[in-house]
């Protein structure tokens, strides 16, 4: 039972860290694309 609970803790920690990594990666990529791209969208015209 102790070994099982250890596996659960390790698995949940790994899953959470992977999820966080994916989220951070996607946010970083999104930020990069917004900043590097220069598409002119209606709405950026006004003040």
């Amino acid at each position: 039972m102790n070994k099982l609970s250890q596996h659960v803790v390790l698995a949940s920690g790994k899953m959470n860290s992977q999820t966080v990594r994916v989220i951070l990666f996607v946010l970083s990529l999104g930020l990069f694309v917004i900043a590097a791209g220069a598409p002119e969208c209606p709405g950026g015209f006004g003040g």
């Binding site: 990666f25 970083s28 990069f32 694309v33 791209g37 220069a38 002119e40 969208c41 950026g44 006004g46």
Partner: protein
Amino acid sequence: MILLYGVAAGLAAGLARALITRRPYAVPELRWPGLLLVAFLPQLVAFNLPVTRASFPDQLAPFALVSSQVLLLVWVLANIKKPVFWLLALGLILNLVVILANGGLMPIQPEMVMHLYPDAPPDAWSVGERLGVGKDIVLPARQTRLWFLSDRFTLPDWSPYQFAFSLGDVLLAVGAVWILWRAGAGPDDEREGNRHGTKVE
């Protein structure tokens, strides 16, 4: 914002791929993520925040855009060994080159402006000036250096979204989608093992 839809679409496709193939959604570890935030700050102030962009001097807009793009270039080169980041770098460089060649802002033709803003009053914009509070400068094609790299593309008239974009923007969007789709195939070391005929468990 439009490019974010591409990111969202790529993410959805990549996650679906991972789900169907029962592989982990594996993204590479990025170097210097803090530099991204620093790189974005000038644009945030100059072009995005309503509180600051309305009063941001036109003379400083090129400095904000170019400095931001240079920092982004440093960041993407720091991560150039990551899969497909070469395509992001290429898209960024194409945009940066045309921006630098035209005074620090992305050129857009008057015809494109009239197409995007058909109801704009006559004195709302003028040739040779920055377009509103954005990153663009209105220049006719004959006065645009490297015009083929400028914001010269747009979606068909039937599209509900209308915006002007450049060749560099196309490469950036394709690169982002490709990266997010590719992540659905699992970790790179596992793919290398399969390619050489040995499956990594």
